[in-house]
Symmetry: C2
Subunit: 230 residues, 2 copies
């Protein structure tokens, strides 16, 4: 069997790590792509570098992009990450302008150079309540644009954006990852970890993750700064 190359957007978090494992399980050789974009902490990126070879990424590239110069988000500017807030449908303050559009565009460039026609991104249903660039209709529009943008699209056709997590709840993502032997102890989701790298347990991302593990009936192997139950 000839293995096809795929570019996988990979942050070192729970979702993208599961996404990479799924790409591999589907027979692709994953080329993992991470971004350094003026995040207030780089712990997640360090985890990505450490973990990428262990989940079978053929290569791992980190592209340095400076979204901070445009400002506009709690993840890139100096505003507070919200804590203990209810998860609702409003666009959250942690929204980064055009983030997935920029990320996918770099993935498209790398895919074209690799001769790959497949890109994996771990967006899912729990995100697209808040982030417009996580919705299925956005991904479909991006794929259509990408097929018009590139040599690969024009000459070969069929450039595909895979979103294997898009209809899954956090619990279903975790269940699928555990089936594929993903070690979630080597992932990191917190928006606002302690200086020692402990997850805060209270930001939106921690709340969603912990809820997912509770629903699966499994305990989250990462270390938290607060008591989170099991």
């Amino acid at each position: 069997m000839i293995m096809k190359k795929a570019v996988v957007l990979y942050s070192g978090g729970l979702d993208s790590t599961t996404c990479l494992a799924i790409a591999k399980a589907e027979g692709f050789v994953p080329y993992a792509l991470s971004f350094s974009y003026g995040q207030r902490h780089s712990f997640e990126l360090e985890k990505a570098k450490e973990y990428a070879p262990h989940v079978g990424a053929a290569e791992h590239r980190v592209v340095d992009i400076d979204l901070r110069q445009f400002g506009g988000s709690a993840l890139t500017a100096d505003t507070e990450v919200p804590k203990d807030r209810p998860i609702d449908d409003a666009i959250p303050v942690t929204y980064v302008p055009a983030r997935n559009t920029i990320f996918l565009s770099y993935a498209l460039a790398w895919a074209e150079v690799l001769g790959a026609t497949d890109i994996f991104i771990g967006v899912n249903a729990l995100d697209y309540s808040g982030y417009p660039d996580c919705r299925p209709e956005y991904i479909a529009a991006y794929e259509k644009m990408a097929n018009l943008a590139t040599k690969a699209g024009v000459e070969q056709g069929g450039l595909k954006i895979h979103t294997p997590l898009i209809d899954l709840t956090k619990a279903e993502i975790i269940r699928r990852g555990l089936e594929l032997d993903v070690d979630y102890g080597l992932t990191h989701s917190c928006y606002d970890p302690t200086p020692e790298g402990l997850a805060c347990g209270r930001c939106d991302s921690c709340q969603l993750r912990l809820k997912g593990f509770r629903e699966v009936g499994s305990s989250d192997p990462v270390d938290y700064a607060v008591e989170v139950g099991s």
Copy 2:
């Protein structure tokens, strides 16, 4: 009259400089955006920095992106720029993977932060014979995607990608620019200038530019390394 902000992709070249002048003439306040992307020469970028304030850009930002790490183009890798070749319909070796997609994505991010819903890009008919990401159908698909990607699109609707040069020949672009008092002596188009900054007169970009000035019956005010007639 309230002036609307617009992000204008601006390289310091003939087309984007004309595009910026058109945006201004249409009543927009132009926010000029350039990219440093591992070009083999930075002369064009220096011209962009110098000229931007003179054409009325309210701000000029230069985003540093490293496409060189993905390779795949004469403009970013160490291959030869073709000289004296006939202009044909094949995708040229100077094609940069996903370039306009990446450029527009940064423009989208800045537009969102500025509260702007208008982006100008100086693609034109002479380009889209060779570059897939200069065609009208690509721009239309990008605009549709952008409206699904962003807060501005979702909450306000109507994010627009303007391509005022798209149906113009090089001669028509130059004629329009001269009407708007664009000083083409402060633009630069050459893919392969001499160390002193003289245009080579032989690359695709120089050939198209010189042909345009000949058709308008005007002489190109930039300095060339070779005799180019008038």
